[in-house]
Symmetry: C2
Subunit: 329 residues, 2 copies
């Protein structure tokens, strides 16, 4: 496999696609401001324009070109809809998790309180659905189904907070609904938009699902092994009682004293215990196993689109897939 | 004007329309349950099926027939979408207002906490938009615009909490966005659906707006003059610091000692002060003036649809409009 750049900003080709999304978002907010939604636009922009990586919408633009879509304007509202709905869920999640920082800035919840954060999230949902609602019924139904599953998965995740007997299946259920589902749904929506057969739609769905699973596993790993220089504090998942895969596998694999120590550490977790947790996870084999799983999901993703002939956009889709892993390389 | 029955359950003809909505909702929830959304369906049904009056969706079904729409199945998802989105906003508002009771049952927020209430509201938004997204772009755009304005109005309302210098214009701005706008939007959407001219669409929009304003003013009035037997506790708006029109007009009209007393009472309001507040509002002329405004908005609404020839559905639409006022007669 070719060496992979460590930072998406180095993936030169992708920059143009990111700009398209950013410009579209900026225009959308400008328009809403003109329609008298100044306050909610200010609140939204604070998070929406704070420098998200735009992985999801970029993936959709590239998938569109990979599938020989020829009119970028046709797919931009769809790609942006997914990004906006994603941002809406982040804003609502941040209320629930009492998170202080998002995309490097203070959360709306932290600055303005939960009420305004909730309304801002609601507003972004509406804007996202307004954009998605312009497409054919099959796409609208797919988006609604995806978002519906996101809400159910969010409820399931809450049930599993601090629950050390969460099973691996339950974990996968949650991340399929919350993270991987929207990736899968977006890729399938683009397949529908470009008029692909049901078979191709399904392949794109699976591609997105596997990519999304890898993406979430990397996120989970970064919470314990991440580089502090990335600006994302580590240990927050553990602090919030989230049962991530590295933890679950650690609990499952360790025995006796080690297991007891890990359970003790995570049940009354302090950030300064992270090193100890990481050490235990490493000796449990959980970290290595998660890395293997990331590779497996990425390889599965890539296999799903094997049937698509090589083209410039496909190479960039693959580059984006590789970037997912590169975040912790 | 013909005598008006005091309770919508007595409006026999309307019952069939209410059943259609209730059945549609019930099927929708059943389907979602089958798709694995059991928990969020339970939470949703708790409020959704708790016996709302279904004024909004009934109005849309009747408007559809009034405009000679012939296939009820065509409009049912639209009418239900408006009801579901309305319910989603109620669930979210109840978190923000820390309300204990909704539609005669405990709020989700009260039973399950704010996080699950928020997710339930989000899920219902999604379901509502999924239904609305099945219609033509003009309707989708209209729904998105309406919901966008609802969020902005909600933000404005928060700014005016406990703010006694809120102007009448600002008050109308908020209730146009929050309550009347969705009535207007729903009626216009039905006009679009039945292929009416732009002129007719506009008339239906204005009809809904005026009806919705009357509806909100009656709600505001009921908070001070309501009949406790209706099961809705009074004085809650004042307790929450909401600047309703009866209060704003009372503050504006009273002078000297009376004005001082009213301001004192509402700034540190206790429910046992309601009688005193009501007395002051009565002598200020605010209650009578609000009643006059309700009549004016209702008359304006009715005038907007004067051009529609008499038919059975139109008579029921008018009956529904009269019902709005009958709630405090």
């Amino acid at each position: 496999m070719a060496p992979i750049s460590k930072n998406i900003r180095n993936l030169r080709h992708l920059k143009d696609y990111k700009s398209k999304i950013d410009d579209f978002l900026q225009n959308l907010m400008l328009e809403a401001r003109g329609e008298g939604h100044g306050e909610v636009v200010d609140l939204s922009e604070h998070i929406l324009m704070a420098g998200g990586k735009r992985i999801r919408p970029m993936l959709l633009l590239l998938t569109y070109e990979m599938l020989k879509g020829e009119n970028m304007e046709e797919v931009l509202p769809l790609a942006t809809a997914y990004e906006i709905i994603h941002t809406a869920t982040l804003i609502h999640d941040d209320i629930n998790d009492n998170s202080k920082i998002r995309r490097g800035v203070k959360t709306i919840h932290e600055i303005e309180g939960p009420v305004k954060a909730q309304i801002t999230g609601d507003w972004l949902f509406v804007i996202g659905f307004g954009l998605g609602g312009q497409y054919q019924k099959q796409i609208v139904d797919l988006m609604a189904e995806t978002c519906s599953k996101m809400a159910s998965a969010e409820l399931k995740q809450i049930e599993h907070i601090h629950n050390i007997s969460t099973t691996i299946d339950e974990y996968y259920n949650v991340i399929e609904g919350k993270t991987a589902g929207p990736f899968a749904s977006g890729c399938k929506a683009v397949a529908i938009l470009t008029g692909q057969s049901e078979e191709v739609q399904e392949a794109l769905y699976n591609f997105g699902m596997q990519l999304g699973l890898a993406f979430q596993l990397v996120d989970d790993l970064l919470d314990v092994i991440g580089d502090d220089r990335l600006g994302k504090p580590r240990g927050l998942d553990i602090l919030e009682g989230k049962m991530t895969l590295p933890l679950l596998l650690g609990i499952k694999n360790l025995k006796n004293e080690n297991k007891k120590e890990l359970l003790d550490l995570i049940s009354k977790f302090h950030l300064h215990d992270l090193k100890k947790v990481l050490h235990l996870l490493k000796i449990s084999g959980s970290i290595d196993y998660c890395r293997t799983l990331v590779n497996e999901h990425l390889n599965s993703a890539i296999r799903e689109i094997d049937f698509i002939e090589d083209n410039q956009a496909k190479r960039m889709v693959l580059e984006l897939a590789h970037y997912v892993r590169s975040r912790y390389d």
